[in-house]
Amino acid sequence: MSNKLMMKFINKPENITSELLDGYVKAYSDKVALASENIVVRAKPKDQSKVAIVTLGGSGHEPALSGFVGEGMLDCSVVGDIFAAPGAQRLFQALQLFKRDAGILLVVLNHSGDVMSANMASQLAEKAGIRVKRILTHDDISAGLETPEDDRRGLAGCIPLYKIIGAAAEEGKSLEEVYETGERFNQQVATLAVAMGSCTHPQSGETISELAKGEMEIGMGQHGEGGGGRQMLESADKTAEIMINQLTQKIQPQAGDKVLLYINGVGSTTLMELSIIFRKAHQVLTQAGVEVVDAKLDELLTVQEMAGFQMILGKLDADHVELLKNRRADTAYWTTI
């Protein structure tokens, strides 16, 4: 389309998704493969007797979602174009590939396009006799604590969910059991994002969500769509406090509860900063007697080169701790020994 000068290492904008997937599966050929255009699967498939975990979503968020395909996590990620849900037919094609008596658990992040594709693909799957159950993630709390689930977006809280249900499926649990374990976690995880600065859509060259220098926006969405309120940039400690307080209001962890606390960098914000942010949020939780048993400082789900991060807080039941921490996972961007 546009002929804007983009400060990105790409070739033709329309080939970005196919080229990046090609590079990715070549780099990690012992872990992943392309089953067909835009359908990423494990290099060594899981036994047919076990529940398959399938997800879908746009590209441009690397390593998410395809970076978590592999032993102990996802069986398949169906990839759309940059920031765009894959079409329903493509998803249906993947569901056909994973048709099995044990069933498929489909994880859908709550975004209009993904939900519409999932709805239509599910109708087609039902007609084709494919057994599919769905978890809809809606961890974003930026729309307000009382906002109904359907109106809350799915952010990076899906990543620990993949680990939990992936491990449960790997154990040979039934579709209902895997679903129940995952949905229970899904109900008790919350995410809040903050951004400063903008990013460039690598195909259109459009600048998404321009913020004035010195401004930040708490409640930013995953594609640069705003949501929360803009305010002047605060110190790391102040920002961390604002965010962890909103998250604990939602999750209400009690003294003695076990939680996960992840800081997901969305692009150009450094691990240096994520560590400083984590430090404060961890202090707040610890002072309240809440036990952080699982932590990550990493880029799990990104928004191109945007500056900012997502803070993820999840209450963990005993089985969740076990599945997250003590079950093997071997994917390109998440490994648990």
Binding site: D81, A85, Q89, R90, I208
Partner: protein, 208 residues
Amino acid sequence: MDKITIQQFILMWKCALERAGERADEFSRLDAVTGDGDHGTAIVQALTSALAAAEKGNEYKAMLNDMGINVMMQTSGSTSTLIGGFLLGMSDYAAGTEMDGNQVRQMFKGGLEGVQKQTKAKKGDKTMMDALIPAVEAMLESGSDDICQLFSVAAIAAQQGANGTTGMKANFGRARNYGERSIGYADAGALSWACIFGAFNETLTGLS
């Protein structure tokens, strides 16, 4: 114009692709305000894959079905399911290689139903529905069986509907999270549908 042949119908989509391509940057820029800045890319992709399937078609029903499936296979984002659903919905009411005014009306009504299977958005929610619903309503309400006339009223209604989205607050799609801040910008999807109906009308005006 009493009847529309399959060749003429394909010309309409060709023109739609051309006009949308010219305005792709505008659509993306608008989508960048409250969304993710890719609607121009998405609509061009969708029309391209629809047309690719159409050009292999020789019978309305199967052709529209192939167009819908191809869009959902080749295209990404909300637009793939919305345009895909529209084409599959049209297919349900289509038949043969020529259609008369009443059939065209029914076919577009079917298209709207196909979209409504995918989304609960209504008029006033600041989505493409604000262009599509008035366009189809205008066709249904028009007393005329002249196909040119049908597309003429549809194009006008779609454009008016799209213009109206500027004052609206978004309730669906990515823009929803912007709430009040979405007011003051037209919806990208509504504008692109108005552009498509405009191109349909332009094609038929040129033919007749």
